[in-house]
Symmetry: C2
Subunit: 432 residues, 2 copies
Amino acid sequence: MSKAGTSKRAGEDINKQQKKIKNIDEVLKLVKKLAEQGRKNTTAERSLAELDLAHSVREVVDKDADAVLDEIETTMLEVAQSILAGNGYSFDIPSRAKGNQLYVPELDRIVLKDTVSKRPFASSQACRKTAITTRILGLVHELCNKQINVTKRDLFYTDVKLFEDQRESDAVLDDLSCMLGCTRSSLHVVASEKGVVVGRPPFTGGLVASEKGVVVGRLTFTEDGDHIDCRRMGVGGKAIPPNISKVSNIASDALFILLVEKDAAFMRLAEDRFYNDYPSIIITAKGQPDVATRLFLRKLKLSLKIPVLALVDSDPYGLKILSVYMKGSMNMSYDSSNLTTPDIKWLGVRPSDLDRFNIPAQCRLAMTDEDLKTGRKLLEEDFIKANPAWVAELELMLKKKEKAEIQALSSFGFQYLSQVYLPLKLQEGDWI
Amino acid sequence: MSKAGTSKRAGEDINKQQKKIKNIDEVLKLVKKLAEQGRKNTTAERSLAELDLAHSVREVVDKDADAVLDEIETTMLEVAQSILAGNGYSFDIPSRAKGNQLYVPELDRIVLKDTVSKRPFASSQACRKTAITTRILGLVHELCNKQINVTKRDLFYTDVKLFEDQRESDAVLDDLSCMLGCTRSSLHVVASEKGVVVGRPPFTGGLVASEKGVVVGRLTFTEDGDHIDCRRMGVGGKAIPPNISKVSNIASDALFILLVEKDAAFMRLAEDRFYNDYPSIIITAKGQPDVATRLFLRKLKLSLKIPVLALVDSDPYGLKILSVYMKGSMNMSYDSSNLTTPDIKWLGVRPSDLDRFNIPAQCRLAMTDEDLKTGRKLLEEDFIKANPAWVAELELMLKKKEKAEIQALSSFGFQYLSQVYLPLKLQEGDWI
C-alpha cells in the first residue's frame, strides 16, 4: 500500500532500499561512534578563563536567582556608599558597540572587551537613563526574589511613565545583563512571543515570526517541580518552556537529538514513535526557532553530550534556520555562547539526496531568484565555509537550481521518512 | 514590592481591590452557577436530525477510522458494481457553493442543502478530477487503515504528477469530506502548519500565520495511548495535538476554561499555578488559533460542559480572535459545527475595564485608523449584534478610541493579573 502512486521502478527502488536496512544495532553503530567522539571532545566547554587572552574580556554566563540577587545587592550597596560619601552615584556599563566585541576563535564565539561607559545620575544627559537602570535593577531584584519570569513587554508596562518606549527598557535590560555578567534569561525576563531578530549579514533579517518549540522522545526532566516524560507526550509533544532556568534533572538514554524543521515531519516521527526504535530526542521549532528552543537545544546538548542531527528542507531557508541555531544573531553576540549549539550535523534533506533517493522531478521545485541570491550569500558565510562538505552541497544546489521540501519524501509513501530514509541515513552515517 | 512603580494613590486602589477578594469558595460561587446553567442548557447539542427542516440537508460529523473505512468501501463497492454492469462510474459530490448553504438558526450554524453534482470518469471534462477523487479515496483508506495522520501537503506530495497543484488535492479532500459526511480530521488529514484562512466578511483575512496551542490546568486525557496530566506540565504546558482523534478519556474537575490570547499571560498564569486555587483549564493559541486548538477547545467544552471565559486584549483584534473560535471561517462553513465553540464569555480585558481598573493613561494606546475601521465593521457582525453587552463594550472602545493589551495590567505589579484582576472578575461574575 505504501508503494501506491509511485511507478513500478520507484517501487523496486524502495524495496531495494528497505532491504539495505540492517537490524537496529547495526543501524545505530555509526551514531554511537559519533556520540562517543562527542563525549571525548570537550573544546566546546572550554571557558574564557582558561584562554590566555591579550585583552581583559567580559563574558555573560547563566547565573541562578541567588547569584543575580547577590550581584544586584553588591551593586546597590556600592551605590549607597557612594551617595553617603557625598559622591552621588553612577553605573559602569560595558559597551556593546562593535568596536568592543572580540571574536575568540578557540571558543568560536564573540565576547566583550573592556570598554566601559559611566552612567552618572548627576548628569542632565544620563540622568533619565540612570533612573531607568536603577528602576530595572529593582524590578529584576523583585523577579529573582519571587522566582517568577516575565516578558520584556510586561517589564515595560510596569513603568511606562519612566520608560516611555519599550526599546528603552529592552536596551537597559541588555546593559544590565552585561553589567551583572549574566544572561538575559538569568534576569528572569524572557523575550516576547512576537518574534526574534534573526540573522547576521547577509541575513539582514529584522523581526520575523518565531514559533515555539515542541519536544518528544527519550528524555525526562523536571520543569518547575513537575516530572516531564517526553516518551509519553502523545503526538503533539511537550511545549518547550519559555524559561530554561525552570528545567533541571535532564536525563536520557538517547543516542542523538533529531532537529526537525517542519511540523509535518515532527508529527510523522512522533506518531510513528520513531524514538522507540532509534533512541532519540526529537525537537522542532516549526521553522525559525525562538530563543527558548535555542536555549533548550543547547542545554540538552551540553548536558547529554550527544550529537545533534538536522532534518531540514533542501533549500537556502533550511540552512538559514541551522545558522540561527548555530550562530545566533549579531545583535545578541555577547550573549551568543549561551544561545548557540555549534556542532550540528546536516543529515538531510541535502541537495545530493535528491538524485540519490530519486526524488521525482515533479516533487522538486525550481529555486527562485531570491533563493539563488540567498544561497550565493550563504556560500560566503563562515559557518558554511568552515565545512567543505557543506560548501559542496550548497554549490550543488545552486548549480542544479532545484530545491525540495522534507515532505517530498512522502512521494514514496507516508512512512518512508521514518521507516526508510532516516534509518538508511543513520546506518550509513550520512551526515556532514 | 508589587506596588512599586505605581503612584501612592494607585497603590491604595490595589489594596482596596485586594481586600474585596473573598475566600476561594465565595470567589467561585458565580462561576459554579454559570457551569450549572451550562449543564442544563443542551441546545448546543441538538442535532440536525431533531429539527424539522423543509430542506433535506447534509451535515458532516466526526467519524472514527472504522466508520470512514466503511463509507469508502461502500462507495467503492458501488463503483465496482457500476463498472461491472457496464455503466462506468461516477461520484456524487455535494455542492459547497454558497447557494447550497443553509443557515440553521436553531443550531447557529451552516449546513449544506441537497444539490449534488455528478463527477463521471467517462467525461473528458471530469475525467481528471474523478481520477484525483479515486486516488485520494485510496490514500484516505490507507491512512484510516494504518491509523496515521498526515498533512494536506504530505497528501499532495504522494502523487504530484496527478494532482499537479496542491489546491486540487485540497479541494477534492473537502469534496470527500462532504461526500462521506465526515469532518476533514476524520479523514486523518490535518491542515499544514503554515497558516489558516481566517475570517468571514468583513475579515477578508487571507492566509495568516496561525500558532499552535498549549494547555495547562486541571485536565487529564489520553493522547495516542499516553496519559497526559496537564496539572504537571511545568510552565510551558502541553502542546495541543494536531489530530483531535487521538484524544480520549477527557477528565477534569475544573469549573471553567480560561481562553487566553497572549503567551505572556499564559506564562504568568501557568507559573503562578492559577489553576490550583481556581479550578480551571488554561488554553492559549498565542493569537490566531489553528484548527487543532479550535477542535480541542470545542471537544473540551462539549465533554466537560463547563463555561469558556476569554481573556484577550482590549482591541478589535482581540474580538477577531474570539470570532475565529466562535464562528470559524466562511470557507469551512459546512464543517463549522465541528470547529466552533459558540458560547464564549468575554471576561476581559474589556474597554470598560480600562477606567474601572484605573489603567494608567500611558498604558493605553490610541487606536489607529485601521483599528477603528475594523471595530466599526465588527459592530455589523452577527456574533456581536447577538449580544447587546458586547455591542455596548465595542461602542465604548470606538468612542474612547483607546485600546490596551492584557499586559497593561502589569503596571500594578507582575502578579496583579493572577492575584487581583482575575479573582475579582470571577467573584463579581463580570463576564458578558
